[in-house]
Structure formats: structure tokens, C-alpha cells
């Protein structure tokens, strides 16, 4: 029975209109009640982690350091208050510790037990134990250890977890300790302490390249080669340090605002979406796949139409762009664009938007 037929049963047009209106009111009321007012992922309101860039020290474009190579880890963060950021890194082989952490079941420490001491007051701190590497600093390096062998999917990887602490100190969390300032969570071995501190625990899986040095398993970081901006519907021009996009402020900050928006698009290098071989779990054959980019956008003021853009099966070469609604107050707005290729590759770019 179609809707039209149903309506014909109802009878007069006025009755149908009343029915529809009443339904609308009832359901709109229900919908309104369930609408939450949360901080959006695209709002930079505090300290947050964006991503991890891991690479071989000898070849910064390569995301998959090999066993025995020196690998570099860089943590990309954003903070509204430019606080001093301390970072503790714990590198373990995935075969021993990775699974509990990856499951998100609170077993991140994987049974690791350390005394409740403060760490990373100095970025030079380093500790190497069998199967465990401890480092400090937003940028650090280590020699890629044994991974413990390939996992059930034939990949070798290292699991990295740690904490980034803005404006505070990092302590090894006592096993029976209470939560402190945000970086504490069940199973997380570190915590961020400090009256004005904000910390986040994080995890990252670093693929380890083939020890033979073949290129088949290597992954290169995607690169954001440029950002273009312009008013919506107009021409987009490249953004540079001297070419700062400008836009008029907007008093109406609602989603239905009629103010002019700024269109921003990130351009990637040609090889950003790499083609890579992978064993198809269905056929057990090696097949070639294309990477899918996920791009995030963050602004310090104003509004964006969503926090992320991603390639999909329907649109494997999606335009990584966003629409910016300027804030009601004039000034410079930070926009951070960060992207991953889905295999550990990472890049980020920050631009300034001038609101008049």
C-alpha cells in the first residue's frame, strides 16, 4: 500500500494535513529532545593529538622503517594555549603487547609493571629493555627492534602507546592509583599531572618494512602539497604565508547561516594514494589495492561543515575540502589540516584565515 493510497483512506485533505502536522510536531519534539550540544571534533578548544608521523631516519618519506634501522617518531599536537608538551613513548612488539591494547579493553599496559616515577622531565630520557623501548619528547628516535614475528595476517608491526601531556608532568601510573587530570584511564600506564595540565593517552601501530629492503611493503607518507581557498562558488587560490585568505565575520553562527563561507581544499602529491599489494583474505591471492585518504580539519574559531573527509568506494579520489563559516569576532583563525593514508602515513598543514 503506497502512502498515497493510505492518505486516500484517511479522507478529506484537511484531515490529512492535520495528521501530517500532528505527526511532524510529535516527531520534531522527539528529535529536539535527543539533540545533544557537544564540542565538535573540528573545534580546537583545548589540547589534542592529531597524529603520529613515523619514518626511517635515513628516508623521511618512508613510513615503514625496517628492523635495525633508526626510526623517528613525531607527535603532532594542537593546543589553544601553546603549553609545553611532554610526550612519553612506549614501543613494544605487537605480538606480545599489541593485542590487548588494540582491543581497547583497558589492557593497554599488557601486564607491564613500572614503579610510579615521573618521566620525561627531560626529552633525553631513554630506556631500552628486551621487547620494550621507552622514549620521551615530541620527536624521538629509536632503533627498530625485533617485532616478535608477523601476526596472523602476515604483517610485522610495533605497537606504540604513550601519553602527551600539555602543561604538566608525566608519571608512571600506580596500579591502584586514582584518575588524575585526563590522561589517566584504566589500563593506561601513564598519567598527566598538573593543575593546568591536559593530557591524552594515545596508541599508534607502526608497520615494519621488509628486512630485505624490498619496496613492496614500504609505505610512503602522503604529502599535503598545497591548500587552496576562496569564497564558496568562487575561484580557489593557493594559500601561502603571504597569501592569507580573508573573509568577513559572521554574526549568525547557526548551521543555517546565510553568511558567506570560505571553501578550503587540500591538495596532495600524486602518489599520496599509493597502490600496494595485499593478500586478499577471501581468495588468498595477492591483489593490488589503492590507499584511501582520511583528512581531518580543525579550526580555532568559526564553524566547519564536518570534521573529516574520506575516500569511499563510491568516491575513491574524494576532494578533501571543507566549508568554513567565519566567527562573529574578527581576528586570525587557525585551521589545521591533517591526513592519513590508512597505513600509518601522515601529514599535516596549518594555515591562517583572517576574519575581518
Amino acid at each position: 500500500m503506497s502512502a498515497e493510497r493510505t492518505a486516500s483512506v484517511i479522507g478529506p485533505r484537511r484531515a490529512r494535513a492535520a495528521l501530517g502536522l500532528a505527526s511532524l510536531v510529535a516527531l520534531a519534539t522527539a528529535g529536539a529532545q535527543s539533540c545533544a550540544t557537544f564540542t565538535e571534533a573540528w573545534q580546537l578548544t583545548d589540547f589534542r593529538i592529531l597524529g603520529v608521523r613515523a619514518y626511517a631516519e635515513t628516508q623521511p618519506e618512508r613510513n615503514s622503517p625496517r628492523r635495525g634501522e633508526s626510526a623517528v617518531l613525531e607527535l603532532s599536537t594542537a593546543d589553544v594555549r601553546a603549553r609545553n608538551v611532554r610526550v612519553a613513548w612506549l614501543v613494544v612488539n605487537s605480538a606480545s603487547f599489541g593485542a590487548p591494547m588494540a582491543s581497547g579493553d583497558g589492557g593497554m599496559s599488557g601486564g607491564l609493571s613500572l614503579p610510579p616515577i615521573f618521566l620525561c622531565d627531560s626529552a633525553d630520557f631513554a630506556l631500552d629493555l628486551p621487547g620494550i623501548t621507552l622514549r620521551c619528547g615530541t620527536r624521538t628516535s629509536f632503533t627498530v627492534p625485533s617485532t616478535g614475528g608477523p601476526d596472523s595476517r602476515g604483517r610485522e608491526s610495533l605497537t606504540i602507546f604513550g601519553v602527551a601531556c600539555a602543561g604538566g608532568r608525566i608519571r608512571v601510573r600506580p596500579t591502584d592509583g586514582d584518575a588524575s587530570s585526563g590522561a589517566s584511564a584504566p589500563g593506561v600506564p601513564f598519567e598527566c599531572l598538573g593543575s593546568d595540565a591536559r593530557g591524552w593517552p594515545f596508541q599508534y601501530t607502526m608497520l615494519v618494512g621488509s628486512a630485505t629492503g624490498g619496496t613492496g611493503n614500504d609505505n610512503m607518507h602522503p604529502r599535503i602539497v598545497g591548500v587552496r581557498a576562496g569564497v564558496m562558488g568562487g575561484t580557489l587560490t593557493p594559500v601561502t604565508d603571504t597569501q592569507i585568505p580573508r573573509i568577513q565575520r559572521c554574526a549568525d553562527q547557526s548551521t543555517r547561516s546565510s553568511c558567506t563561507r570560505l571553501r578550503v581544499e587540500a591538495d596532495f602529491n600524486d602518489g599520496a594514494r599509493e597502490r600496494y599489494p595485499e593478500r586478499d583474505p577471501n581468495t588468498n591471492m595477492i591483489v593490488m589495492r589503492d590507499e584511501r585518504l582520511v583528512t581531518g580539519f580543525i579550526v580555532s574559531a568559526g564553524r566547519l561543515s564536518g570534521g573529516f573527509r574520506t575516500d569511499t568506494a563510491a568516491e575513491p579520489q574524494s576532494v578533501m575540502g571543507n566549508d568554513f563559516l567565519p566567527p562573529k569576532d574578527p581576528g586570525d583563525v587557525r585551521m589545521i589540516i591533517y591526513a592519513t593514508d590508512g597505513r600509518g602515513g601522515y601529514d599535516t598543514r596549518e594555515i591562517t584565515i583572517r576574519v575581518d
Binding site: T6, L24, G182, Q203, V294, F308, G342
Partner: protein, 903 residues
């Protein structure tokens, strides 16, 4: 089958059955001075049939007691000789010398049919209660305790009570019974034999009326027969089942009273809720199946889930059947409407536990829905329209022996939601939820002893949502999301009387049940089963008070499942993870045999022992499930009841599948060595009748669960020597109590208070910590009532107060730098609860009667005082902010129902 709750198309039966003796009491209370209240007790020796009074003698009411206005009951013991005479009358329970003397003198003048044993008359000693009441004088009459009662009202073509009509009822093996209707059109047969009665009603100037009524032991069937004017062309009297017809005033007591579907009284308890109750309960939209949700033993389902949670069991543990065929769902999307229209229902049997051996493959409860037989004369149509959906029902007779009924319903939530959700297009959300259902019945009665019925019923629910942009919590997640649940089933039923005391019931059904789920590029899940079910049951009454039911219940369930999903991998966002396609097909062969006896060794005492043997083909396992229940009607006001039984449930197809799991090479999808889940039900309770309208039922219950299927954690599946993906290590315990205090429908009011005290806990492995299940709602209170105001107006209210469901708090989050998302870190499992749920629903009805039929209008206001009921917690993208998810706001629903008949 301790607490069967029956809901019929005309009525819903719910608490526990009024014992047969209560019917007799009703007959006696017609108002005789010094009327007796025979209550034959146990004979001194065991007899095949006890003595029965055939000649009643009225006692002389002691003048002094009459003057003092005193009433009393005297229980005497009397020896009934082989000649049927009373001797050795002694007082067992005295009411004073005067009353005692009068009672003994009267009983000494009684005449009885002697007790029979082995075909021989034997002397017996029985107890007899003689009640003295101060009422208007009427001649005393001989009373016998009947095996069943058929009574009702005969109305004229213009709906007035018809006095002086002749009503005859005849069983094929006995002489016809005949009576004449009283001034108010009523009649009553006290029947000493059960079976299919041919009833004929004649009255001068009106068309003769015929009907066939099936009565079983202890049935009390109430009917309304409506005579019609003769037509020129029609000379043959035809049968027409009584159908609810509103009276001119719209608030007459007879409105909504219709034929009581006579059912085998296998259960030890049964009480009936009437049509008026099921269609006027506030908050149900007049949907009979939704009225189930107001009964004790049912947990409150989460908002919009539509789940049926019976005595703390998981929704999937409760079996829903339509005339014996299992169907996958009872309610449409969101629980807003049931999948079968009220007009099509003959009955709803709800068994919260300790159910009959004829039901299996479930450890929770059973809801067995019966489709009604269409009207055997004329045509009737009903239209229901509400804010949510609209439905149409038509029934009629092609020939007197070939009848049909069809019904269809479609929602228009899609039209409304599309308009409403247009406001959200900036976030890229569009939706089109829609459902429909249909039922069709074609019934043929080639012979009074045979009934054939072909039924078609089905439903389709679907919801599609398009996320044009990735969400904050799942950056790699975008695309189209949706689900569809459906079933389409054809069913053939054949009921036949082999002899007056032997009945057979054959059922075969086949069809499709399906489920499809799509979640963007991540998951596509399609499941299709083609279940075929064959049942045959033979029921034979060996002697009065002893019936045996044996049956075969076979299920052949071929099906296929296809899962196309990304395989989550550490370090890879879902959009980049490889897709894995897993397909498996097979057929589950699930035959079962059962036997169940219904034993009444003593009036008022009833045992129902049974046993069921199930074979689970996929796991090659036999399950033997012995069960039993008992009920003892101590007197006319008190009864106790209890039951114990074992119940099993085969694992789900994905849990026992032998197909290879592509996501975990070298492993199977399921564990073919799984055992069936098992539950042992215990229950004990009592009932008390305070007055003809008010009664209470109290029942305690416990369920021990073991062999529960538990999924192995993914982390263990990734290990080098992974265990099977499922195991039987789970166990659990559910216990509690149910109370139902009910006021049956009177001319003005009906209502009840239902309260459930419940605890439902489980553990996933021996020695592991117990945790409360999501169904663990400690207190569940429902209070409802409805009052007739006159002139077709009726108002009602329902209030519910329920303990919030357990929840697992979020203890923090971890940033996944590979996928740009935050991983939620759980706190202790089920260590928090939602706040108490409370809600008031109001309903107003107005009915009109016209020459062409009737029209009624209703307005319901759900959550009338706008209670802010928390149904859960939602978090922002990094779990640092939380807000409660609220349930239904004030929600008005209105609709109308129009009915017309063509005779």
C-alpha cells in the same frame, strides 16, 4: 505452564483461571434464601466419578438467625449409598447449632447419583458445604457441578435482549439440551459432556440461528447470538459467530464481549482479559499485542527497541509463534506497532515460564498468537487510522462454509520523518523508515468435524539512512546505512474431531525470513532462511479428568548467510582495512516429540506433567526436557500453583557454523560442538479472588541458566593457538516475583496493578564475576485503569515506574593515531544504572453507533507530564563530554476506527 496468559481476539486472558467452581458459585448467587453451595469433596475411597447431587432440598432458614440477619456456611460430611441416598450426615464445620441442624436436615433429603468405580456403584463419603444466605425467596433448584458451561445472551436484530427464544445445544453423541432465554435474553447450559456442540436458536418471526461451539473440560464459554430477520431468498439457517457490536449508547456492558475462544485447558492457570481491556489500555494505541507489555514478568524494553524481555531473558530466548509457526519478530520498527492486527487475533497466549511441552527451542518465554476464524455470514470491514499507520480489515463468507479475512497495514513514518529530517540535511542525514504487514485467512469447513485453514502472513520493516559525511566519532565511516527485516509465511491448518473425545491438529508452514544490514562501505550482512515447520498433535481424553496430548514438531530450516565486512586490524582505519566476504549455507534439522498429560485426580486439583525430546541436527545433540506443573483450587477463593521444568535452546546458526572464517584463516565461524543452552524453571504462587471483579495472583520464580553461549574475545582469536570462537562457559540466574492485582471489567471500570521484582545476572565463565544483564530491572510497576463516563466516552491512564537498566560507564578514552578516532575505555561492566523510568500515559475514547456501523475515536498522550527519562548516555567525539539520551517526550497519538457490517 504455570502462568499462561491468554489474550483472545475478543479478549485477552491473563492472570489465572477462575476455577470451575467459581462458575457454579455465580449460578447459585442468583438469590435464593438459604441457598446451598455444593462443593463436593473427596470421596472416602477413590472412585472413578464422585457422587453428584440430583435432587436438592432446601433447608429451613432458622428464624432467629434470619431475624438477626446472620448468614453462614455449614460443611457436612455425608455418606452416599449405592442407591444414591444420603446417610450418616455429620457436621464437619459448624456454624452454630441452629444452622447445623437445618443443614443436616436438608442434606438428609438430598438425592445423588452414586459414586462409580470400575463401572460399579459404590458407597462414598463426601464433604458438602451448605450456605445460608438472606436473599429474596426463589425456588431452590437442583444443581450439579458441570463439566463445562455454555451461556450467553440472545439479541434480536435490533440488538435488544430477546426473551423466550429457544436455544438447543447438541453433542453428536448425546440427547439435545434445550432451554428458553430469560427476560434479559440470557441462557445457560451446564454441560456434563464436552466436545463440539451444535447450537440452534429459534424465535418466532426471526431467522433461525446456528452456531458450533467447542467446549473443553472446565470451559465457561460466553456467547452473544444475534438473530436476524428472515429474507425471502434465504430459507436455510446459517451460523454466524458472535461479533462485537456496539450498542446504541456505546457504553453498554455488552460492548466488546464476544465469543470466548474455547481452548484446551492444558494450563493450570488461565484468566481472561476482555477485548475492552486490550483495546483501551492507555499507551498501546489499541494494539492487542502491545498490551502484553503491561503484564508482570515483562521488562521494559529500551526506547524504540521493540524487544520482548521476559523474566530477565534475552529477547532472542523468547519464542514468538503464530498458530504454532515461529516468527522472528512481534513488533515493528521501534515497537510502535505489532506485526499482526488486533482484528485478526483470536488469542494471545503468553507463557512467561514453565510452558507446555508442545513448545520448545527457547529458554525464555513463549508468545503464541492465534489468528481468528472469519465471520461465517455477511461481510465486515474495519478501518484504523492513527498518526503512525493505517490499516484495513475485511472478513466475510463466500459460502456459509468458506470464509475469508484479510488485513493490511502500512506506516507513514517515512513521509513524516523525511519532512522532519530535512532540517538536518546540513549534516547529511536522510531517512526512510517504513513498515507494512499483512494477514490473510481462507477457512473451509467441509464437515462439522473438520476445519481447514490457509493463512498467509508477513511483514517488512526497513530503514535507510544516508550519511553524506563521516561522523566525528568514526572519521573513516560514511555512506548508506540501513536494515531490513522481513518474513512471509504460508500456513495450512487442519483441525479435526476424530471422536468426541479425540482431536487432531495438523499444521504445515513454509516461507521466508530475512534480515539485511548495511553499514556504509564497512558491512553488508544478508541472511535468508526458508523455514518449514510441520506439527501434528493428537489429543485424547481417556476418562473425564485424564487427557493425553502427544505431538510431533519438526523444523527444517535451510538458509544462507553472506557477510561482506571489513576486517578490523590494529593500526588501520576501517576505511583501509581489507574486506572479507564470508558465506555459509546449510539447513538446520530440528525434530521434536512431546507428550503431555492433563490430570484432574480430584476436583480442583490439576497436574500437567510433560516431556519433550528435541534433536538438534547441526550439533547432533539430543535434549530431553521433562516438565510439570500443578494447580490446586483449595476453595473458591484460594488456589496455589507451581511448576518445574527444563528448557533448552539450540545455538544460533553462526555459533555452530562449520564454515571457514576468512577473517581468521584456519578457524571456523562457529563451534559445531556447542551444547544447547539450558534453563531450569521453578515457580510457585497463589491466587485469591476477593470478589467477582477483583482478584490477585502472586508468583515467585527462579531460572537457572547454564551452557550459555559466550563469544571468545577477539584478542584470543588472534593468538597462535586460538580457542573456538564460541563456548558454553556462560551461566546465569534469574529470580523474582510477580504480582497482579486486577479489577476485571465492570460496567464502569477495569484496571490492574502489575508488579515484578526481578534479578537477572550472568557470568561468562566459571568463577568469573557475576554481572547484571541489561534486563535486570529490579522493580517494574504498572498501574492502569479505565473508566466509562457514559455516552460512549471512556478515559484511562497508565503509570509505569521501572528501575533503570544497568549500564557500563565510560572510564576514559585513548586516541588512535592511525584512525584519527578515540577508543572508548570501559569501566567495570554493568556497574552503573540509568535512573528510574517513570511515565504517565492518558487515553480518551469516544464511540458512536450508526445505522451503517460504528465509529470510535481515540486520543493518547504518552508521557503526559513530560518525564525526562534517561535511556542511555551519549558522548562527544573524545568522550570528555556526556549527555543523557532521553526517551520519549510528550507524544500525542490520535486515530479513529470505523467498522461496518453487511449481513
Amino acid at each position: 505452564m504455570l502462568a499462561r496468559r491468554t489474550l483472545t481476539g475478543a479478549a485477552i486472558a491473563f492472570v489465572a483461571a477462575a476455577p470451575a467452581t467459581a462458575f457454579a458459585q455465580g449460578a447459585f448467587s442468583a438469590g435464593t434464601t438459604g441457598a446451598s453451595d455444593p462443593d463436593a469433596g473427596a470421596p472416602a475411597q477413590v472412585a472413578d466419578s464422585p457422587p453428584r447431587v440430583v435432587r436438592f432440598a432446601e433447608a429451613d432458614y432458622p428464624e432467629a438467625e434470619r431475624a438477626a440477619g446472620r448468614e453462614a456456611s455449614v460443611t457436612v460430611e455425608v455418606t452416599v449409598t449405592v442407591e444414591g441416598r444420603a446417610s450418616e450426615v455429620t457436621v464437619a464445620e459448624s456454624a452454630g447449632e441452629a444452622f447445623d441442624r437445618a443443614a443436616v436436615a436438608a442434606v438428609q433429603r438430598f438425592e445423588f447419583t452414586p459414586a462409580m468405580q470400575g463401572g460399579q456403584r459404590v458407597a462414598a463419603r463426601i464433604r458438602y458445604r451448605y450456605r445460608f444466605r438472606l436473599r429474596a425467596q426463589q425456588p431452590a433448584q437442583t444443581q450439579r457441578e458441570p463439566m463445562a458451561v455454555l451461556r450467553g445472551v440472545v439479541r434480536s436484530h435490533d440488538n435488544r435482549p430477546l426473551a423466550g427464544a429457544t436455544v438447543t445445544a447438541q453433542l453428536s453423541t448425546t440427547a439435545p439440551l434445550s432451554t428458553t432465554t430469560a427476560a434479559d435474553g440470557t441462557f445457560r447450559f451446564a454441560l456434563d459432556a464436552v466436545g463440539g456442540y451444535d447450537v440452534a436458536v429459534t424465535s418466532e418471526g426471526l431467522r433461525p440461528y446456528r452456531a458450533r461451539e467447542r467446549l473443553y473440560e472446565r470451559d465457561d464459554v460466553r456467547v452473544v447470538y444475534r438473530m436476524t430477520r428472515p429474507t425471502v431468498a434465504s430459507t436455510e439457517p446459517v451460523a454466524r459467530p458472535t461479533t462485537p457490536r456496539p450498542t446504541r449508547r456505546g457504553d453498554d456492558e455488552e460492548q466488546g464481549v464476544t465469543v470466548r475462544g474455547a481452548r484446551p485447558a492444558r494450563e493450570v492457570t488461565r484468566t481472561t482479559l476482555e477485548r475492552r481491556e486490550i483495546t483501551r489500555i492507555p499507551g498501546t494505541g489499541g494494539d492487542a499485542l502491545r498490551s502484553l507489555q503491561n503484564l508482570p514478568g515483562l521488562s521494559r524494553a529500551p526506547f524504540l527497541s521493540g524487544a520482548l524481555i521476559v523474566r530477565g531473558a534475552a529477547p532472542g530466548d523468547t519464542t514468538v509463534l503464530v498458530d504454532g509457526t515461529a516468527v522472528p519478530l512481534l513488533y515493528h520498527f521501534g515497537g510502535l506497532s505489532s506485526v499482526i492486527q488486533t482484528e485478526m487475533l483470536d488469542r494471545i497466549d503468553f507463557y512467561p515460564g514453565n510452558f507446555s511441552a508442545r513448545f520448545g527451542r527457547g529458554t525464555g518465554g513463549v508468545v503464541d498468537v492465534g489468528l481468528r476464524s472469519p465471520a461465517s455470514r455477511g461481510f465486515r470491514g474495519v478501518v484504523n487510522v492513527s498518526l503512525i499507520d493505517a490499516s484495513l480489515f475485511i472478513e466475510g463468507a463466500i459460502t456459509p462454509n468458506l470464509t475469508f479475512a484479510i488485513a493490511g497495514r502500512r506506516s507513514y513514518i517515512d513521509v513524516v520523518l523525511n519532512a522532519v529530517l530535512g532540517a538536518f540535511d546540513s549534516v547529511g542525514l536522510t531517512a526512510a523508515p517504513v513498515y507494512y504487514d499483512y494477514q490473510g485467512v481462507l477457512e473451509w469447513r467441509p464437515h462439522p468435524k473438520h476445519k481447514l485453514r490457509l493463512s498467509l502472513f508477513g511483514t517488512d520493516d526497513r530503514l535507510e539512512v544516508l550519511f553524506r559525511q563521516p561522523g566525528d566519532m568514526a572519521p573513516s565511516f560514511a555512506g548508506s546505512f540501513g536494515f531490513q527485516t522481513r518474513y512471509h509465511i504460508a500456513q495450512l491448518l487442519w483441525t479435526h474431531d476424530i471422536t468426541p473425545v479425540t482431536q487432531g491438529r495438523f499444521m504445515f508452514s513454509g516461507g521466508l525470513t530475512g534480515l539485511s544490514i548495511a553499514a556504509g562501505d564497512l558491512v553488508r550482512f544478508d541472511l535468508n532462511f526458508y523455514p518449514q515447520n510441520l506439527r501434528y498433535e493428537l489429543s485424547h481424553q481417556f476418562v473425564p479428568g485424564a487427557r493425553l496430548n502427544v505431538g510431533l514438531d519438526m523444523v527444517w530450516n535451510p538458509g544462507n548467510t553472506r557477510v561482506d565486512a571489513v576486517r578490523p586490524e590494529p593500526g588501520r582505519p576501517l576505511s583501509s582495512a581489507p574486506r572479507v566476504t564470508t558465506e555459509f549455507s546449510g539447513a538446520a534439522y530440528l525434530p521434536a516429540l512431546y507428550a503431555e498429560a492433563e490430570l484432574v485426580p480430584h476436583p480442583g486439583l490439576r497436574f500437567v506433567p510433560g516431556v519433550r525430546l528435541d534433536y538438534v541436527g547441526p550439533t547432533r545433540q539430543w535434549n530431553l526436557s521433562p516438565r510439570g506443573s500443578a494447580r490446586w483450587d483449595i476453595d473458591r477463593r484460594w488456589a496455589i500453583k507451581g511448576g518445574i521444568g527444563m528448557f533448552t535452546q539450540q545455538p544460533a546458526p553462526q555459533e555452530y557454523s562449520r564454515a571457514p572464517n576468512n577473517a581468521f584463516p584456519g578457524q571456523l565461524i562457529g563451534n559445531p560442538n556447542l551444547l544447547s543452552q539450558r534453563a531450569t524453571h521453578y515457580s510457585l504462587g497463589f491466587e485469591h479472588i476477593f470478589s467477582p471483579y477483583i482478584n490477585v495472583s502472586v508468583e515467585g520464580f527462579a531460572k537457572l541458566l547454564d551452557n550459555l553461549v559466550v563469544a571468545t574475545p577477539t584478542t584470543q582469536l588472534l593468538s597462535q593457538n586460538p580457542p573456538p570462537p564460541f563456548n558454553n562457559n556462560g551461566s546465569g540466574l534469574v529470580y523474582g516475583a510477580e504480582v497482579l492485582l486486577r479489577h476485571k471489567p465492570s460496567s464502569r471500570f477495569f484496571g490492574w496493578v502489575a508488579y515484578t521484582l526481578l534479578s537477572s545476572v550472568r557470568r561468562d565463565a566459571p568463577g568469573a564475576e557475576l554481572y547484571p544483564t541489561s534486563a535486570d530491572q529490579t522493580h517494574i510497576l504498572t498501574v492502569l485503569g479505565s473508566v466509562r463516563l457514559g455516552r460512549g466516552w471512556e478515559v484511562g491512564a497508565r503509570f509505569r515506574l521501572v528501575t533503570g537498566s544497568p549500564t557500563t560507564p565510560v572510564a576514559g578514552a585513548l586516541y588512535d593515531a592511525n584512525g584519527f578516532s578515540y577508543v572508548m575505555l570501559n569501566g567495570m561492566r554493568a556497574s552503573a544504572r540509568n535512573p528510574y523510568f517513570h511515565q504517565l500515559d492518558l487515553r480518551v475514547d469516544k464511540a458512536w453507533t450508526f445505522s451503517w456501523g460504528s465509529l470510535s475515536f481515540f486520543l493518547e498522550v504518552l508521557n503526559a507530564y513530560y518525564a525526562q527519562n534517561q535511556e542511555g548516555v551519549q558522548y562527544n567525539y573524545n568522550y570528555t563530554e556526556a549527555q543523557p539520551v532521553m526517551g520519549l517526550p510528550i507524544f500525542p497519538n490520535l486515530g479513529f476506527r470505523a467498522e461496518t457490517s453487511i449481513l
